[in-house]
Symmetry: C2
Subunit: 447 residues, 2 copies
């Protein structure tokens, strides 16, 4: 084993990440509202000693529900149900700083950290879907910078809430009748631009002290936020060079704010089609792409680029000139990724749709188990990644093949653990357990 | 078996309902943050064929945490963790219409209804603790009437969200590629005084259609709300007469708004100390009361009455004249209950504190299993109750005795089921599964 060990998450879309996964022969779309389905996936990932399962989220219905199961079970409750059927694997859910109240969100994650004995992570998002605004009384989705300003203060508030009980606040001395030491439970008295929150949290400090802070923004605001707060970053890159540049930038920014670079794990997405030969893997990918529906794919592309390409010839060269950087509805984290694919590969419109069908702009590859392991090793050893968010094209099969065929190779190469060394998600990621802010008298506590 | 069957919930306070439960010999206060603790309690209640487990909640820390474990795990996540270890018992959590956004709350409960295959209930509260306001940016807790006005609209919004997918919206036809029928997924376009919510919900309709609507208010506003919306009511009464009056009033109000009275189950709280003789039961209750701490009890009394009696002689007659109906900080649902105890029993201050130590104003009794069964049968058959929220003084022992000793008597008397007949909470309660509002073209859908 090298000094560093890969961190691997299983990123679960109910049916898999490829947009046509539910149409693949043998898929079981009738099971994807069943807790047992998700528990079994997490148990498989736990058997492979993965760091965590990971769930995306957004508080609005996807427009393309007509063509694929793009609904969302609420992921924090889903984690609680999965926690009950697993014992070691980490549990990461996405939740929005734009559309939650910090006191409610702090409670939900702290509770699941208790229920799971310290296995929870929070993927901090500001929500990119403009449709969410109209589910929360807003006419317009707040602008990117405004969302990040709120997110910054939101993280400050929930951090204080999670720290508001010192670790040794509970005494539970039946003889004297003292249950908790009130001097170790702190009102946070937060007064800021977006929030006024008195606190304390109404539950004891959770096993990890704070859930692990995960983040996925790649904009300038997002990178600054990540450098200050993130302990794991989920990111999308199509080339080694782009991934290396991002990796170097984030680690440098972390150093710049006084953090240790190894305390921010950078985890690009990876969606592998695996075959016993490369030709077989490519044929499998083609089989999936043949099941895609342009109406779905075009809606997704519109969200990424802010341009509707419906009605354009699918088999003509992609009309690059229609993309403008200022397209306001675009998802910042995907805009440049898609543009780079277009400029590098000069695809047809259909070709671009197929390129994005597998994982929405994340890296998709078709190869043998050794080729997939080579890719992982290269990015891991060449300064592009600390690990990966594995995004199986379909489930459970697409993950089973990865676990059965690729993971053993990674172990033989000394890149990945064969068993858990610790019991919390912080243990798996090699992250320290933060002391409570309120247990450091010298530290400035003012908001 | 009579036509009617008792409905029995297990109301879980982590260590039990008596304020000194955690000090009782053999209690395990170190286990009450452990999911396994709650799963085992729910499994015991399920083995007794109880309708549901029930959790209270409030988004602020209780002031008397110094003296007892009055923290709160977030109960919706707790239900999800319990769902994973049970298969039939209903799962009811409390959540606040004052401090949640309706879209977030609708998602949380719908998800757990999916994960539990249709076993969830929502106890709708407007939150009585003034401290909550300051965790959500408000200087003052909204007034009672304002909270109920928001609650009314909140329930309207979440009902529309839960109905926004018709039951047969999912097609999942892999051959054609049609996953869902967009004509059966409805934007709710709610525009009201408190909320603007476009919808639809971002998940399919849940197994029960809507989680069961539970409620606990007993004020005039609360009763009107209950008559319109509640399917189960948790209520506190000290005498048969008071319970009968409440029961008759609610059932009449339900009829008045065109609902079937049997679709509102009225469930008073009952906290029994059980012994093989009445003397033994009373001695047990005395043992608990001897463990109470006046500082805790006085804080609780202050919340109920809006008056601080600290410093008064505990063994002098209770200073009744200090109570004023207009004490603004009082909890409406408890104020009259406490006043009635005072006027009927003329206790000392300490005596009153002991009367409230068991279950915060709910009915506490000490008796043999037959006496407890007699009480239940009397209230059930004399128009005072459809069932009970059983509030064991301590856990798990206080519930085990009830399940082992009282439940068999209720069964022999034909009052309570010996096994579940259905699989959802609506089944257990004899409640219909509501069709979607959007599946009734003749019905007025305007908000």
């Amino acid at each position: 084993m090298t000094d560093r060990s890969l961190n691997l998450n299983l990123f679960i879309y109910p049916d898999g990440h490829h947009e046509a996964a539910w149409r693949y022969p043998g898929s079981q779309p009738d099971r994807i509202l069943d807790l047992g389905w998700f528990q079994a996936l997490a148990q498989r990932a736990e058997a492979a000693a993965f760091d965590a399962v990971f769930f995306a989220d957004g508080p609005a219905l996807a427009e393309n529900i007509q063509y694929a199961p793009r609904f969302r079970l609420e992921p924090i409750t889903l984690l609680a149900g999965i926690a009950a059927a697993t014992s070691r694997i980490g549990l990461i859910a996405t939740a929005s700083t734009t559309y939650y109240e910090p006191y409610n969100l702090a409670r939900l994650f702290a509770s699941v950290d208790h229920l799971s004995h310290g296995r929870v992570g929070w993927n901090i998002v500001t929500t990119s879907s403009p449709a969410a605004a109209r589910n929360f009384g807003l006419e317009e989705h707040p602008a990117h910078a405004a969302r990040y300003a709120r997110a910054e203060e939101f993280v400050d508030v929930v951090t204080k809430l999670w720290d508001s009980w010192e670790d040794d606040a509970i005494i539970a001395d039946a003889a004297s009748g003292l249950y908790a030491d009130p001097a170790k439970i702190h009102a946070i008295e937060h007064v800021g631009r977006h929030f006024r929150v008195r606190g304390p949290l109404n539950a004891p400090r959770s096993p990890q002290g704070r859930p692990v802070y995960v983040q996925a923004g790649s904009s300038e605001d997002g990178r600054g936020f990540a450098a200050r707060h993130a302990e794991a970053i989920f990111t999308a890159h199509q080339t080694l060079g782009a991934a290396q540049a991002f990796y170097a930038d984030i680690k440098a920014r972390a150093l710049g704010v006084g953090r240790r670079p190894e305390h921010i794990k950078i985890l690009p997405g990876l969606s592998p089609f695996i075959g016993s030969t490369q030709a077989e893997a490519r044929a499998l990918q083609e089989q999936f792409n043949a099941l895609t529906q342009p109406a779905y794919s075009l809606q997704q592309l519109r969200q990424m680029l802010g341009v509707d390409f419906s009605g354009h010839d699918l088999d003509a060269p992609f009309p690059r000139h229609l993309i403008q950087p200022e397209n306001s509805q675009a998802v910042a984290s995907r805009f440049q990724v898609v543009l780079d694919i277009v400029d590098r590969e000069q695809p047809t419109l259909r070709g671009l749709l197929h390129r994005l069908a597998g994982a929405r702009g994340h890296f998709v590859m078709a190869g043998t188990p050794d080729q997939v392991a080579d890719h992982i090793e290269t990015w891991f050893t060449q300064g592009a990644a600390d690990g990966f968010n594995v995004m199986p094209p379909w489930l459970p099969g697409g993950f089973e093949i990865f676990a059965d065929e690729v993971v053993p190779i990674l172990r033989r190469r000394g890149l990945f653990r064969s068993a858990y060394a610790g019991s919390t998600l912080r243990d798996h990621l090699g992250l320290p357990r933060p002391p409570s802010l309120y247990n450091q008298p010298a530290r400035q506590l003012a908001s």
